[in-house]
């Protein structure tokens, strides 16, 4: 009986896991499927995954930026944090609008990686905070740039692809700012 119960519980858990994993299934629609013959929302798997990943990442950026604006030791880092919070708030709002018009809800909570990162950073102080924050920002913006480029190449929904195209130059600018800031932190 117990064995049966364990089996059932495990099966339910597995099903739940696979249901969540489907959105990331790489064997999705061909990126060249025109809107008309796509899934009802006019989005392929790449589009759907993109919305979730960039949505969650964007929210985490705003939170991290606000933390840096208050907790950062140097002015450089505080300014950078403020700029991130502002720019990503704008980008998030645009994405929310697009998601709403396609009746998609973006995950409200950050993914576990960003939660861990946020907790780690909030435990740091002074120079150490500054350096670690900027380092994580460099990695985050590299990943975001590639994610946007992936959407541009593999996505299908025109509005989302345009959103990715419009956002990319700013993300690359942020990346350059982060690299420059780290350089300056190293020399002061």
């Amino acid at each position: 009986m117990l064995a049966n119960r364990i089996f059932i519980v495990t099966a339910i858990c597995c099903a739940a896991l696979t249901a969540h994993a489907e959105i990331g299934n790489p064997a999705g629609d061909s990126p060249l499927t025109p809107d008309s013959s796509a899934s009802p929302k006019g989005m392929n798997n790449a589009d759907q995954l993109f919305v979730q990943l960039v949505g969650m990442g964007g929210k985490a950026e705003v939170e991290a930026g606000n933390t840096a604006a208050h907790q950062g030791k140097s002015d450089l880092v505080q300014d950078f944090g403020r700029r991130m919070a502002k720019d990503h708030q704008n980008a998030n709002q645009k994405l929310e609008k697009l998601a709403q018009s396609d009746h998609i809800e973006i995950e409200k909570n950050y993914d576990p990686d960003h939660q861990r990162q946020s907790k780690y950073l909030s435990g740091l102080k002074g120079d150490e905070f500054d350096r670690e924050y900027i380092r994580t920002q460099i990695a985050e913006h590299q990943r975001t740039a590639l994610l946007l480029e992936w959407e541009i190449g593999s996505g299908q929904n025109k509005a989302l692809k345009q959103y990715a195209e419009d956002t990319l130059p700013t993300v690359l600018e942020h990346l350059q700012m982060a690299k420059d800031t780290l350089q300056q932190l190293k020399t002061t």
Partner: protein, 497 residues
């Protein structure tokens, strides 16, 4: 005696046992402490690396690297591709017209086969009402801020970036169809450049093993159907076998037997010389196999195979060190976009290194540059054979123009190096044009200039349509501020190489 012995024996055993037990206990304690320390540091390491790796445990989606399998039926993908084909071609045509003057202005100078004229003039269009001289006098930063870099100097997109793949010019498609009954036509895209900006077709073939013969092609395109009768007696058995392999079709990403293809019928595939026609180039293009994600991959114009015998690095973005390496690997890279997984599914040809690859290299290594009667053995002009403009151009090339710093005459106008021209000083990366995300080009191989008039368009992606365009490009990139006369002389010189 025996009892004493036994006793002694037992005592010594007992003693040994307790000694062993004590030693073991000590050892165990030390071991335990050591293990405890190790475990602690391992755990701390794990914890730290978890924090440090916090942003890496969920990687980017796998299809940012790997080609996803199609999920829609071939017939519906084909129908959609055909329906949007004219829109795709139109979009590329508009881009070309916006960037370049595409009109036909031939020079009274023919390419080496004597069949096609070289195009004259600068074709790249200027932006914002500035002249070339004004542009050359501005700083890179200024040009970047004001967005004045001519669009024709920016990376040139593939006709259909999301799909990419090899695209053949119409003449190649027609000849292969006629001779072999093999169809190189794609139902989703067509070649985009006007014919006047491509090499002559079919190109002449010059052999290093027979400089006295000149062009041995007899005006024909080499294919699996005619290669033997054309060249038996001229080449060795290993060269002949290498040639046969270079002309044998093998499966390729767009031309294969699966449902993931862009040829209407299942295809036997593509041969090496389908792009490197007659060991030269027919201007067929594809996307670099060395970059991901798809949107970042730059366009690659086919290079000529002439003069490979002296070239030590191969591949514009990679620096493969021998023709053998290149021949061996291209059927995972140029053919399959650097995706050996997709290649395995569709049937990649894996030529054996010691025999097939060696023989393919044997044949490629005997292809000569076209004759350049005005050049001496060290790549310099004979003063009594060259015109005053050509000699003046050579002076610019060796001096003010700084061309010879990379294009060294003595080593076939190459330096066996890759160089980063850092064109991104002049533009802001991240802009998207026809699906191509423009990022910095990075280091690219120096290309030979011998016979250069025979192989438009220029640069690794073919963004520069004429030699005059190339001179303007490097004038800006190197900041050498050439005068109009110097630029014109330089072009005359390049035509003589």
């Amino acid at each position: 005696m025996m009892i004493a012995n036994d006793c002694l024996h037992s005592c010594s055993l007992f003693y040994s046992y307790s000694l062993v037990k004590q030693t073991y206990a000590l050892f165990k304690e030390k071991l335990f402490n050591a293990m405890r320390m190790k475990l602690f540091s391992l755990l701390s390491g794990c914890v730290l690396s978890v924090f440090c790796a916090a942003s890496h445990s969920d990687p980017l989606p796998p299809d940012a690297t790997y080609r996803p399998l199609p999920t829609r039926p071939f017939s519906s993908v084909k129908a959609d591709d055909e329906a949007e084909k004219s829109k795709v071609q139109q979009r590329q045509r508009e881009l070309l017209e916006q960037r370049y003057d595409l009109s036909n202005h031939p020079l009274p100078i023919l390419m080496s086969g004597g069949r096609k004229p070289v195009q004259d003039g600068v074709r790249v269009k200027l932006k914002g009402g500035v002249s070339w001289d004004q542009l050359a006098s501005m700083s890179a930063d200024d040009i970047r801020q004001k967005n004045l870099l001519p669009a024709g100097f920016m990376p040139l997109p593939h006709v259909k970036q999301a799909t990419g793949g090899q695209v053949f010019p119409q003449q190649q498609i027609d000849q292969i169809n006629k001779q072999e009954g093999r169809n190189l036509k794609r139902f989703d895209v067509e070649f985009d450049l006007p014919d006047q900006f491509t090499p002559e077709f079919p190109a002449p073939i010059f052999l290093t093993t027979h400089p006295e013969l000149g062009d041995v092609s007899q005006g024909q395109l080499l294919t699996i159907k005619n290669y033997y009768s054309l060249l038996v007696g001229y080449i060795t058995p290993v060269q002949m076998e290498g040639l046969r392999l270079l002309l044998t079709p093998f499966p390729q990403e767009e031309f294969n037997q699966t449902e993931d293809r862009k040829s209407a019928d299942q295809s036997l595939g593509v041969t090496c010389l389908d792009c490197h026609a007659n060991f030269h180039t027919n201007a067929a293009f594809h996307l670099t196999p060395d970059v991901r994600p798809q949107a970042d991959r730059f366009r690659l114009d086919t290079v000529s195979l002439r003069g490979l015998f002296n070239q030590q690095i191969h591949g514009s973005k990679r620096s493969l060190r021998s023709v053998e390496d290149f021949s061996q690997f291209e059927q995972r890279t140029a053919y399959f976009n650097g995706d050996h997984v997709s290649a395995t599914r569709k049937g990649a040809n894996l030529p054996d290194r010691t025999n097939q690859v060696a023989m393919m290299a044997q044949m490629q290594n005997i292809i000569d540059f076209p004759p350049a009667p005005k050049l001496d053995s060290m790549g310099h002009l004979y003063p009594d054979k060259a015109s005053p403009q050509e000699l003046a151009g050579e002076k610019v090339f060796m001096g003010k123009g700084r061309c010879a710093e990379c294009h060294i005459p003595q080593t076939a106008f190459m330096d066996q190096q890759m160089h980063d021209l850092k064109l991104e000083r002049f533009y802001k990366p991240g802009v998207v044009t026809n699906g191509l995300v423009v990022i910095p080009d990075g280091p690219i191989k120096t290309f030979t200039l011998r016979g250069i008039k025979d192989s438009p368009p220029y640069m690794h992606d073919g963004r520069l349509l004429t030699l005059a365009d190339t001179v303007e490009f490097f004038n800006l990139v190197l900041g050498v501020q050439l005068t109009t006369e110097e630029k014109s002389n330089l072009v005359s010189y390049l035509l003589a190489l």
